[in-house]
Amino acid sequence: MAPLRVWIAVAVGGCALIALAYLPPRGAAPRGPRFATYSPEPTAARRRAQAVAKEWRETDASLRLLEDRQHVKWDSSRVGPAIIFRGPTLPPTAVRTVEAVADSMWRALGLGETKVRAALVIALERAPGSAPGPIPDQNGVAFLTPDSTDRTTCMAFLPANHFWTAVLLGHPPRHFEPDWLARWFQSGLGPCAYYAAYGTPSRSVRSWLAARNWDVALYLGTHGIAGERFLSVNLLGDPRYSWYWDGIYSLSPSTVACLAGRLDGCRSAVLYGADDDARIAVPEIVRLEQGWWRKQHLLPGERFLGDVARDVGRDRFQSFWTSSLPVDTALAAALRQPVGEWTKQWERRFIQPIRLGAAAPLGATLLALLLAAVAVSAVALAASRRQVR
């Protein structure tokens, strides 16, 4: 009976120690100011006004792209995309500079005279209230792909925010690097760069790309969104922080599986939309909303087809691009290996495979083993000293 009492006393004492360590003393003041405030939400009427404004912006952008396509002027002395400015008038020297940068960017992409021509509509920032209607969205990039009305013109709409408007008007910030403008133009070309380089895709490829809003064909060049280090996969942040995992698990299961290096996941992520016979709207206007990278089916999908084209070479990519075969067959033929396998290797260039499922950290595992060893030793020691009377 006596040993039992000792053990009970030890257990109660342990509980008391833990309580002493963790419970605050009675009447103790909280350590710092404590807030649990809630910010106001817009009224239903305000939300409706915002929704109508969004719809108007989309319609207005479509209208302007179609109008601009009718009136675009091609300059035979230039090789690059035609540039159309909207908003404040640029001085002629600034226009010439922009055109020169666009031409050199065009050449850097390996493009010259192309069957499908591209036009870049740059909307400069306007002063609030200078035009009727809602304030234009400074992040809504849009593309008007060639269609039966005009088979040889691809239009890209690139809104210039405060920063780029200042640059274009000749007031760049002090540390402005000259190649930033070319990178911006390159990232603004989107699908138009593919049209210029490889012509109109086959129906199956176009339907696949339309179903996924062209998320795997946004950048033809060797750079990411704005250079090598700005890939959409980097926008997830650092795996040490919780928001990284919040970002990962907001993606579709196949995208996450591909990030974990699973072949089936990579295949599904690439071929998402390939089975659907998506109806291609006429005119086909591709819109990229702010935060488009959070809705990608493959990370960093924006450069996927650009990397495929570089890896397999122009001829094989061209045959894929114009192939009437199903996308998975045509892509596997161009890659000369299964789509999932190639994509898995490609993914590893940008991100180490993430670990899925429960996984105890090494430190915690070692600590658990150590505690287990201590417990077993203690029991063994106690048993060895036990006296039988």
């Binding site: 040993p3 003041a29 909280p30 100011p33 404590r34 807030f35 649990a36 405030t37 809630y38 910010s39 106001p40 939400e41 817009p42 009224t43 239903a44 009427a45 305000r46 409706r48 006004a49 109508v52 404004a53 719809e55 108007w56 319609t59 207005d60 479509s62 209208l63 179609l66 109008e67 009718q70 009727p132 209607g133 809602p134 039966s148 009305t149 005009d150 910030p173 002090r174 540390h175 690097e177 990411g224 250079g227 090598e228 280090r229 890939l231 980097n234 650092d238 005119p283 940008f350 106690a382 000293r385 036990r386 006296q387």
Partner: protein
């Protein structure tokens, strides 16, 4: 005749896509115009709804007036009046005569039961806070959400935010002192040593050309900035080799990496808190109308605006601010003499227990 008709028919068929496009453009134009009208109506209705919500937020509520502060809140144990009485002097001393405008910009506070799961109406105006906040927290809430009109873009950009009254002025200046002695920047150290031009540089008030060279003139400083603030950022793609070279000590790589950043991303030697404390000093020196003078000319340089607000030259202002920061040096941790004895006593107790333990038996 038949041939001519055929030709016209062919031309018509060929041109039909263009007519189709015109129809589409007309349709889109009509739709855009219609949406624009709908939007104008929707905005008018939304403005009316917001205004009604503001009116509704005042119904059945008390208006608490302390100085120029107006707080519209529901009856609750939340110590709003006492908190306002504590907050008002701090607000008044910061904004001076501009604080009078707050009479037209009331706080809307909805105090709610923190322990209730009852469904509450959606909040459209003001703040919702649990009514068990203590006086200190409520005062802090009032100070951090002063409904003052936001400053102009230039000042907001330089400050990286909105100017609010200080809750812990002494600790804020102590933080500036720590930045003086720990920032990997010659400008910050120069300021600490008494060079006012360095202070002006470190605060971003002087010539902002060649900021990298002015803030971080030596190679170790540039390396510290890259490895301390941008190691993860540069450790991808094309910049990864340059990062490795920089870490290995190649200054040209560090400089190139830092130059590739936009100017406003370069870490400031002295933080935003230091800038805010300087503005507070300027407003304190300038008296009642200082805040209005600070906002008077949004086109002027920030240094000139601060000097105008304070009523002294920017050099004097910065020198006074630096002296205040030095005076607020955090107190070093001092070990009382008896603590040494206590520590040694505990060591002796544990050592004694360890040495005198005997074999135990259950």
């Amino acid at each position: 005749m038949c041939r001519r008709f055929g030709l016209l028919l062919i031309l018509g068929v060929l041109a039909s896509p263009l007519f189709g496009q015109d129809t589409l453009i007309s349709r889109l134009r009509i739709r855009a115009d219609s949406l624009l009208r709908t939007w104008q109506q929707a905005v008018a209705i939304a403005n009316l709804a917001d205004s009604l919500e503001r009116e509704r937020a005042t119904i059945g509520r008390d208006t608490i007036a302390v100085g120029a502060l107006r707080i519209i809140t529901n009856a609750s144990p939340l110590p709003v009046r006492q908190a306002a009485a504590l907050a008002w002097p701090a607000i008044d001393s910061l904004y001076g005569s501009a604080a009078a405008d707050l009479a037209e910009r009331p706080y809307f506070i909805r105090a709610v039961d923190p322990d209730s799961n009852a469904r509450r109406a959606v909040l459209h105006v003001g703040l919702e806070v649990p009514w068990d906040l203590d006086l200190r927290s409520t005062t802090t809430l009032l100070l951090t959400t002063v409904p003052i009109a936001p400053p102009d873009r230039a000042l907001a950009t330089w400050l990286t935010g909105v100017l609010r009254p200080s809750i812990h002025p002494r600790e804020d200046l102590g933080g500036v002192y720590l930045e003086f002695v720990t920032a990997p920047s010659q400008a910050a150290r120069g300021c600490f040593m008494g060079d006012i031009a360095s202070c002006i540089d470190a605060l971003g008030l002087g010539d902002t050309n060649h900021q990298l060279e002015r803030w971080y003139p030596s190679a170790p400083e540039r390396r510290a900035v890259v490895t301390g603030s941008f190691a993860d950022f540069f450790d991808h793609g094309g910049s990864a080799p340059a990062l490795r070279e920089c870490v290995a000590g190649r200054d040209a790589s560090c400089t190139a990496l830092l130059r590739s950043l936009p100017a406003d991303v370069l870490p400031k030697p002295l933080s935003d808190a230091a800038r805010v404390s300087l503005v507070r000093d300027a407003l304190r020196l300038g008296g009642q109308d200082a805040y209005r003078r600070l906002l008077r000319d949004p086109e002027a340089a920030i240094a000139d605006r601060l000097a105008e607000a304070a009523g002294v030259s920017v050099d004097s202002l910065v020198a006074g601010w630096r002296n205040a920061a030095l005076a607020a040096r955090p107190a070093p941790v001092e070990l009382p003499w008896w603590a040494i004895g206590v520590a040694l006593g505990w060591v002796t107790v544990f050592a004694g227990c360890g040495l005198s333990s005997s074999r135990w038996r259950l």
